[in-house]
Subunit: 256 residues, 2 copies
Amino acid sequence: MSDLDVSQVLAWLETAAQMLRDSFQEEREISQKTGNLDLVTDMDRRIEQFLVSNIREFYPGDRILGEEGTGDQVEEMSGRVWILDPIDGTMNFIKQQENFAIMVAVVEDGAGKCGFIYDCMRERLIWGGPDMGLYYNGQPLQPPQDQELKDSLVAINWQMFADNVSNVQALAWGSCGVRIQGCAGTEFIHLLLGKQSVYVSKLAPWDYAAGRILCEAAGLRCSTIEGAPLAWLESIRGVFATPRAYESAIRLLNMQ
Amino acid sequence: MSDLDVSQVLAWLETAAQMLRDSFQEEREISQKTGNLDLVTDMDRRIEQFLVSNIREFYPGDRILGEEGTGDQVEEMSGRVWILDPIDGTMNFIKQQENFAIMVAVVEDGAGKCGFIYDCMRERLIWGGPDMGLYYNGQPLQPPQDQELKDSLVAINWQMFADNVSNVQALAWGSCGVRIQGCAGTEFIHLLLGKQSVYVSKLAPWDYAAGRILCEAAGLRCSTIEGAPLAWLESIRGVFATPRAYESAIRLLNMQ
């Protein structure tokens, strides 16, 4: 297993970002996955294929879990595994032409090594991991302040918020307010930049793998809503938060 | 009453925007207005005073309604009235240092003449009115497509969404999803750029005056949740939407 060349991954991300920016000049093919709120475009597949082909060429022994299924069937986490979300926030990509992200996570024998989240329309790129620190647009990123829930904004998946799943509305009322971007990647960026203290959402592995690695490297807490440790291959209802806000969030989300 | 010099107003907005950007280098004075979710800073007051003093100098016969109360007591809309929100989205200004807006509306004898909304951190400035068309960062702005509710994103005030005021959750489920920025100004920008089809919120006069003028000039529909025409001096629960999405929204919001 060769060492990870971060600068090479960053170059792939820049190329992918330019493909996405250029794509707004063309008509898109859009189709439904699980329903009318779960869309996929030809660009989701093109970006994933671009990343997969590069990883296959330079890291032939690695395995790849990609949202669009062009990687491998990954059922356990031995060795090095790449987890890819080529366009996180596809609905925003289609409807807003912004507020989406490319996300890449690298996991070795079940330990998060490096995460990359790139909001390429706003040119906000955060990457890093436990052994390398955090970087924001090429500069070292200081971990966010340990804000309290009551003094900060929170992000909550809108469907969970409407249905008050696990009491999430109590979390909202205990905060300075709710903001919803509809993209896990940009919500993680806001957490890492200290713009909000909590993010609660239902997420597939590619939605949270990079964000989890970055949050843990920044000293933030990550778990399921029930407080259980995160796996890598399961869809979850997750909480990502500053340590202080995490304590409040877990208490409120698990009140009987 | 002298003619309105739009380029002069744009120059004031640029100066105010620079004051706001520079303000992040300093400590802020923050105090509560009606409660812990309704904050005001020294910058809200400084920006309003800057705008008020310029309007007083160049348009001495005009009256001014400002959020921070440094203008006039305006109880009816005769003559020319300026409606000012020096920082719309003060909570975001404090917590995110972005996603806020400066808003200015000019109303003559109760008719909206010109609105300005400036998201100065992202450098998105929209201005215009019924007799002058719409401009986005200096370029003419085409009105947004007449999107259907079911094919588009919507923005809903998070407190109304939590409490399902006027059935707003049905609006959400009838759409492609909810996005919440917590700033009326940036929600109006998203409407005007076609990134969402509906905005529902509870708003004070300075929160909606500029947005209403711009939306009406763009062919969008604006009313109270009950479908009544908007006044200028009342706090409202308002709906702002593309014509097609407006029909769906009013029906859903008024279902028994």
